[in-house]
Symmetry: C2
Subunit: 507 residues, 2 copies
């Protein structure tokens, strides 16, 4: 986290926007002159930083060329755009849900991207985004590393209450491997947990959404990590076996997915056990009701890696259940045997990848599937990381709303992914001009939008970092609502349906 | 701004807090263990940055020694402290207001600091702080560089409505000298002003406060700038004459104070003319009512320099009016003749200075009043910058709430000054244990408080940087309230008492 945060804070708005000090955009309504002089000084500094980081990562960074772009058809400042609905009306897809769920490996649906598939990808991607938006990153909070809201109100709090799903369970993870950069930990001694982090949730489609999409959809959304640079040290070390065959996966991901300890409160069972118990229970429940069910596993970045491990396990233990993974900016996870087993078990994987994003090149920047042509030389290659499934490749340069220039964090950001999916028509066409998703969201936690949009960078922040002025005039951090305090029962028992009025059980 | 912002954002909470990775604080109530491992990596980086900055400034930086401090009498986490009022009851000072206003140069009142003087210093210091808190720093706002609220509600909005004063006028400044680092400018083409910034206000005590303090008090508060590093290039260049004698002052400060242009909206009259017109009018008004009046001019940093220029002019043009300046962390302004003329005209100056703050050493880090002992060598020294008046010297190390270690921005921050004034008893005694001012305020825009207090750094921020979700689900920057749009009439005419329902007159 630390490294990428720093990079971000180095890059003032407008930095990557071009070489010209002033640019003039003409729209039907007015002329906007953006003065970039103020940022020029810092620019060199940030470029140097980017460069050294790229060296640190031993990566060849593809920097989009700095070319002048004319946005003749784009109205960046017109206010009428503010009153366009952010979503198209929902369409019924019950007839073709299997195709959209990937039963034919999305053949013919990706380029051009089928509008209804686009909508579903965005829907699942927003579940992945929710795991970031609800996460408590505050190191001075005793609940740092947990979800800020309980599962009954998370979607409402995030403005996603119309998505047609309900969260049934939260997932917590720990790791036996020392991954200091992964765990978000409170700096206080007395905390809800010293070992575990909230790692995602299981959700289920409600009746209305179930009718629209043609089956009862179980969703698992895995939280990722924001900072690609941290990974480099931790991962790419070694593969460890999974299953009974030749399949191997990265040991760090596997540790997160499977670690547990009797001495913890939230990981007496592992993330794997938590999620599988819930999914199995849901599948059984709806099967007994005679409903058809599907499992859709999603995640961004590290979350995408966990999604794949989750899919592998679910496919092995629940035969016949249609399972897919929709991952965003996910790194490689395992070797070729791992990929082959996933294929054989019928797991359908759609990897959404931004061309300029570095993370999908990890681990295995050097040793990856492109080495297969040297098969004779390298032997069975069971140690080579490989990607899985179908790929939806997006180009950050396709969007007229995004700045040019290299932006490590911006290219990897899930909101950038969702924006690019929303605007994707086909590999050789322009950004979709009637894309409706709110462009402002892109800058929630990065600095990617062109100045003309007037959206501040990294704007997703709490008022006064959560401090409020009490009746005595003092600024204090209010206590968390009791109903939002992580409750140990939510992990280890399903008997309790409501967390309200229960005493928190952390120390 | 840029440089210091970056430094700040480099320094995560807890960074300067010591060498030990873990520290244990025992209070009567509980034991708090602070884990500092997470910040250790970044620590070296920030230290290097600080070092190179210090080299850049060609300054010898006094870094407080890193020693272990035991806070046996301090309760950092006890919640009962949260319900202590932030202010002592107001005491009547009408009998001795002249002494507190400096008529005897605060002789015998500063060490130990007289409790009633302490309270008055904090009161004026909060006016100076208000000029920052209300300022629109947002480069994507078309009102960047203005005050966010109109003068009738600024104190209420900042929680200062019980201070006993009312703002009568806003002051705007521009500069003919190229001071790009000074002017906060919108990056948009269409803005309220391309030349001027809101620079402070004139306020007047209400009847109740007037009774308490024994006279009608006119206050002028000047806004400063937050970033000392920027100054170094701009200032310390040359002195220019002021008045009719030998007095000379730094040309950058003088330009800000006196620049005007017919081609601007807010500086058809200079800051000097705006403030003097208002002060003269108020003095005349209350004189005719038979009331005694005083003028108290305050400012932090650059604002303290402007306060001195303002006092010089007011003393020359309104003889007999008791005038004082209470400045915080202000740089030197002029030469020895300037200081002597101020003394002769009876201007009383109280300079509040934090020992570790670099800004009061500028300009003239090399050539300053300490050179007077070489008088014979250097001649008349009319080109040497010198400080003016009495000094209240504060030591950042006196406060158990503040981190050890060098913190460029933190030592200079006005909230740090106010905290140290509040805790100052005398030069050789401990921090005042019954100091009541809210300690959390210190971290509003810097990272100075020890971790044990659990106050995030730089916490003074707007929710989502001012973006709000509109009825269509889109994140937009709402328009400023019409009554808060800078109104050109407020500068050039006094006929209009209310700005309400007036159309904004910017382009």
């Amino acid at each position: 986290m630390a490294m990428s945060m720093m990079i971000q804070s180095h890059v003032p708005a407008g930095l990557n926007a071009g070489i010209n000090r002033k640019s003039v955009i003409r729209s039907a309504h007015q002329e906007v002159v953006i003065d970039r002089r103020s940022s020029s000084k810092v620019s060199n500094r940030a470029n140097r930083l980017t460069e050294s980081l790229s060296n640190l990562l031993h990566l060849h960074v593809e920097t989009p060329p700095r070319r002048e772009i004319r946005y003749t058809n784009w109205d960046f400042v017109g206010e009428e755009k503010h009153s366009t609905p952010v979503m198209s009306p929902k369409e019924v897809i019950s007839e073709k849900w299997r195709d959209l769920h990937g039963c034919m490996d999305w053949d013919g649906l990706l380029d051009p991207l089928h509008p209804r598939l686009r909508r579903e990808i965005v829907k699942y991607g927003e579940f992945a985004q929710a795991t970031y938006d609800a996460f408590d990153f505050d190191p001075f909070s005793e609940y740092c590393g947990s979800c800020r809201f309980n599962r009954n109100k998370i979607f409402e709090k995030l403005g996603l209450d119309k998505n047609g799903y309900k969260v049934c369970k939260y997932i917590y993870a720990m790791s036996h491997i020392d991954m200091p950069q992964w765990l978000n930990r409170s700096r206080l001694g007395q905390t809800w947990s010293k070992d575990s982090n909230w790692m995602g949730f299981v959700a289920i489609s409600d009746d209305e959404e179930t009718r629209r999409i043609g089956r009862r959809d179980i969703v698992v959304a895995w939280r990722g990590t924001v900072a690609p640079s941290e990974w480099y040290e931790d991962f790419q070390r070694n593969l460890e076996p999974i299953g009974h065959g030749e399949a191997k996966v990265e040991h760090g991901f596997h540790s997160l997915y499977t670690s547990k300890s009797e001495f913890t409160r939230y990981n007496k069972s592992s993330a794997s056990e938590q999620v599988m118990e819930e999914v199995t229970k849901l599948v059984k429940f709806y099967k007994e009701k005679g409903e058809e069910a599907s499992l859709t596993i999603t995640g961004h970045s590290l979350g995408g890696a966990l999604a794949l491990l989750n899919a592998y396990e679910a496919a092995a233990s629940i035969p016949g259940l249609p399972i897919n993974v929709i991952s965003f900016g996910a790194p490689r996870v395992g070797n070729i045997a791992f990929r082959n087993e996933l294929h054989q078990m019928g797991v359908k994987t759609l990897r959404v990848v931004v061309k300029q994003d570095l993370v999908p090149r990890m681990p295995g920047v050097v040793f990856n599937e492109s080495l297969q042509k040297f098969d004779e030389i390298t032997g069975t290659l069971d140690w080579v990381y490989t990607h899985v499934g179908a790929e939806l490749k997006l180009d950050a340069r396709s969007s007229p709303y995004l700045k040019r220039g290299f932006n490590l964090l911006g290219f990897h950001s899930q909101e950038t992914y969702l924006h690019l999916v929303d605007g994707f028509v086909s590999g050789n066409s322009d950004f979709r001009s009637d894309a409706r998703r709110d462009v402002a969201l892109v800058n929630k936690a990065c600095d990617m939008l062109i100045d003309e949009l007037r959206i501040p960078h990294c704007w997703y922040q709490m008022e006064n970092k959560g401090l409020v002025r009490n009746a005595h005039g003092r600024w204090v951090k209010p206590k968390r609502e009791p109903e939002d305090i992580p409750f140990v029962g939510e992990v280890n028992s399903h008997a309790l349906q409501s967390q309200r009025h229960l005493q928190p059980m952390y120390i």
